[in-house]
């Protein structure tokens, strides 16, 4: 529904900020008059295509320049660097744990891959293997569970956990797998 609503909108290319964000922006940078005039509880338009309604100070701009030097490839190189020196058993368990967060198809491909030097796949080959065209049947489930994220109770998130485990086990019975588990303002959606 969200996508459909967005598509039906006349104009795009705008950034809306929540009142909390605008209140912080007011303190750290100069805002356009249009933003200053909006109500306290209303979201505001802070950027529209090539127009920005907030201006960063010189200090901020200088610090922001350094962000562009952090490339994505460098980021993934750092992951490997963090693995350097870890013992083999730790690496195995770390990989197993991380694989639980990944799409099952990707996980199976990688976990069953040989570590033989001649059998290893490059990143490109991995991407290519994932980019397959497949016919699937999709079930979109709306789970009505009330979870208070601010709750400090010990079992506050047990419901979420139970929903995921139940969904996974049922899908396993029917040879399916969980694509995504989305929680947003509209609810919880195992996909």
């Amino acid at each position: 529904m969200k996508v459909a609503r967005a598509e039906s909108a006349a104009d795009h290319g705008e950034v809306m900020a929540s009142p909390e964000v605008i209140s912080i922006l007011e303190e750290i940078c100069q805002l356009d008059k249009s933003l200053q005039d909006i109500g306290v509880d209303e979201p505001g338009l802070i950027a529209s295509r090539k127009i920005s309604h907030f201006r960063r100070g010189l200090e901020r701009q200088a610090s922001d320049l350094s962000f562009s030097t952090v490339g994505s490839e460098r980021y993934f190189e750092r992951i490997q660097e963090r693995c350097e020196g870890l013992p083999l058993e730790s690496l195995k368990k770390l990989r197993n744990l991380l694989s639980l967060y990944v799409h099952p198809v990707t996980r199976n491909d990688e976990m069953h891959a040989s570590h033989h030097p001649t059998s290893r796949r490059t990143t490109e080959e991995r991407h290519r293997a994932e980019a397959e065209l497949r016919t699937v049947y999709v079930i979109f489930v709306n789970v009505e569970v009330e979870v208070d994220p601010d709750s400090n109770e010990k079992g506050a998130f047990d419901k979420l956990n139970d929903v995921l485990n139940l969904t996974t086990s049922v899908l396993d019975e029917h040879k399916g797998h969980l694509r995504q588990f989305i929680v947003d303002d509209k609810g919880m959606y195992p996909l």
Partner: protein
């Protein structure tokens, strides 16, 4: 295996003796007007002058067959394109000597009839299965005065005296210490793809290639069949494992020899082995330097598979696992990765603060790398961080990282013990800015473009968004259809919480402004990636919502099947409200 090693050793030691026997045999043949020519082939000097005796000699049985084989070999031998095969193969039959019963091997079909074996790959062009048997360039002995010492014929294989590797002196190879080892103890540590040197080497010497009309065809690898510890593999797999190459069907070979490793085994030649060493020597040097030089290690990683390859099986596996972790790291948010790596950093920091000398000891030895926190806590939730340390003498100690800390003096003998999973469900609360990017136009686009073009468009469009987010130090939490969730947490190096909070908001806002600036009204052409892009078929657009507040990251799932990292909190509602408000506002 020991049997094979002994056979190989005895073969080498008996090499000269075997030659002597054959020389004696040849001398005795002279009584039948047979002598060796200069090239080691056999000719009957008397036949040319005394043709009338040909029937007598031609009627001789075994010797005539031997002559035919040798003469036939002189024509075909190992040539792929008329030249001699450049690799010399020492033969070891697993029998301890060279007096092998040919018929037993023939009957047991130990010949390389396997379609994957050397004969069928390297010796294409031969007609019959018998002719497809490989003929092995034996470790040649220079021929002096026609006293050629032909190696024994086995399986009808012809052993040639030529095929010496150009530019390589066999005497040098004999001095190579590694060559003196039994072959099963040798290792090849290239651990990677064909390097440029090997490729050039092959191209220069036509090594391991078949050619047709001057063009290389088929498999360009070395085409030895190799039996590793893992079993039968095709081709000369450059592995660091100890291996025994063999030709032919492994089952037949095992039956014939009674060996558990197959009976028809051959040592790879000095030349080929040398050539590999030659080719990989460059990388080997780099590997040694890798330990000291990180830059070169990175270069080496990129050179090969994008990750480092070790020289041992363990190092290879570690490199593979690190690469897998990196690959999975591309699929999970950075906060999840941090939740696993954080304990290690915490341990390191704690050790540094509590015992600087101990940290040095740990980092320099097997310390910090071998210790992993048992209780992995997301985002440095330090309340329950703990560490299991195995002391070789004192057993397992459970050390609380954030307790007093100073009482812990890590031992050099401390080892990795356990790596318990993150307790599930696990939650972590923190402040952060949330960016919601909603892309519009894909639904319409999917009806207009074919799959391949559509995937290119989606990839290129998402690539811009993802790069912008990562450049602004954002963490992509989830792709939900054609929407993206990214967060900027207030965690950072600065002690000033307010400043970190402001940075998070500013970065999120700047990122959103950049995205709408670059990705709005994104034209999609019919022929993407082609010179003439054709007509514009659709326009992609984007709008963003930015929220800030208290977020709760929850790890749910189990330790076997599946886990998910969910984000809950007020900012989720904020960004959604923003987009909804935007839609209403736009109308």
């Amino acid at each position: 295996m020991d049997r094979l090693r002994s056979s190989f050793t005895s073969l080498r030691s008996s090499n000269d003796g075997g030659n002597d026997r054959l020389r004696d045999s040849m001398r005795s043949r002279k009584s039948k007007n047979i002598e060796l020519n200069e090239k080691g082939g056999l000719r009957r000097s008397s036949l040319k002058s005394k043709g009338k005796e040909s029937s007598d000699v031609g009627g001789s049985t075994s010797f005539q067959r031997l002559r035919r084989r040798l003469s036939a070999h002189s024509q075909s031998s190992y040539s792929f394109d008329g030249e001699a095969r450049r690799s010399t193969i020492r033969s070891s039959y697993g029998r301890g000597d060279r007096n092998v019963d040919i018929n037993s091997f023939r009957d047991s079909r130990c010949m390389p009839n396997n379609p994957l074996s050397l004969s069928n790959q390297n010796f294409a062009g031969r007609k019959s299965s018998m002719d497809m048997r490989p003929s092995y360039n034996f470790d040649t002995t220079p021929i002096e005065n026609g006293n050629y010492a032909p190696p024994p014929s086995m399986n009808g294989n012809r052993l040639t005296t030529h095929g010496r590797l150009q530019g390589h002196d066999s005497s040098e190879k004999l001095n190579n210490t590694d060559q003196e080892k039994p072959f099963s103890e040798r290792t090849l540590s290239n651990g990677g793809k064909t390097t440029g040197k090997l490729r050039k080497f092959r191209e220069k010497f036509n090594f391991g290639r078949r050619k047709r009309n001057g063009k290389a065809i088929g498999n360009t690898r070395n085409t030895f069949d190799v039996m590793t510890e893992e079993g039968y593999t095709e081709g000369y797999r450059k592995t660091n494992k100890k291996f025994v190459p063999y030709f032919g069907n492994i089952d037949d070979a095992m039956q014939a020899s009674g060996s558990t490793r197959g009976g028809n085994m051959f040592d790879v030649s000095r030349h080929s082995s040398r050539s590999l060493k030659f080719a990989f020597g460059h990388n080997s040097k780099i590997k040694k330097k890798n330990v000291k030089n990180k830059k070169k290690k990175k270069w080496f990683s990129r050179l090969n598979y994008g990750y480092a390859t070790g020289s041992s099986a363990k190092e290879n596996e570690e490199a593979f696992l690190a690469d897998s972790i990196s690959w999975f790291g591309r699929h999970v948010p950075d906060c999840v990765l941090t939740s696993f790596f954080q304990p290690l950093n915490t341990i390191s920091e704690k050790m540094r603060l509590s015992a600087p000398d101990a940290e040095e000891e740990l980092m320099g030895g097997n310390g910090i790398s071998e210790m992993v926190a048992t209780n992995l806590v997301a985002g440095g939730d330090r309340e329950s961080e703990s560490l299991d340390v195995d002391d070789e003498f004192n057993g397992v100690q459970r050390v609380s990282i954030l307790s007093t800390g100073s009482d812990y003096a890590p031992s050099r003998n401390s080892k990795f013990v356990d790596f318990k999973a993150l307790p599930i469900p696990h939650s972590k609360k923190y402040f952060g800015a949330l960016l919601f990017v909603d892309i519009s136009g894909f639904t319409k686009l999917s009806t207009l473009l074919d799959v391949e073009t559509l995937s290119k468009v989606i990839n290129s469009y998402f690539q811009v968004i993802v790069n912008t987010i990562t450049d602004c130090r954002g963490d992509i939490l989830k792709f939900a259809g054609d929407a993206v969730f990214a967060e900027w947490t207030s965690s950072g190096l600065s002690d000033d919480f307010e400043k970190r909070m402001e940075d998070a908001v500013m970065n999120a806002c700047c990122c959103a402004a950049t995205i709408v600036e670059t990705c709005s009204d994104y034209p999609v052409f019919k022929n993407i990636g082609v010179g003439d892009q054709g007509e514009q078929v659709a326009t992609l657009n984007v709008h963003c919502g930015v929220g800030f507040g208290k977020l709760t990251g929850v790890h749910v799932g189990d330790d076997e099947k599946r886990r998910e990292y969910l984000i809950l909190g007020d900012p989720i509602n904020q960004v959604s409200v923003n987009t909804v408000y935007f839609c209403r506002y736009s109308h």
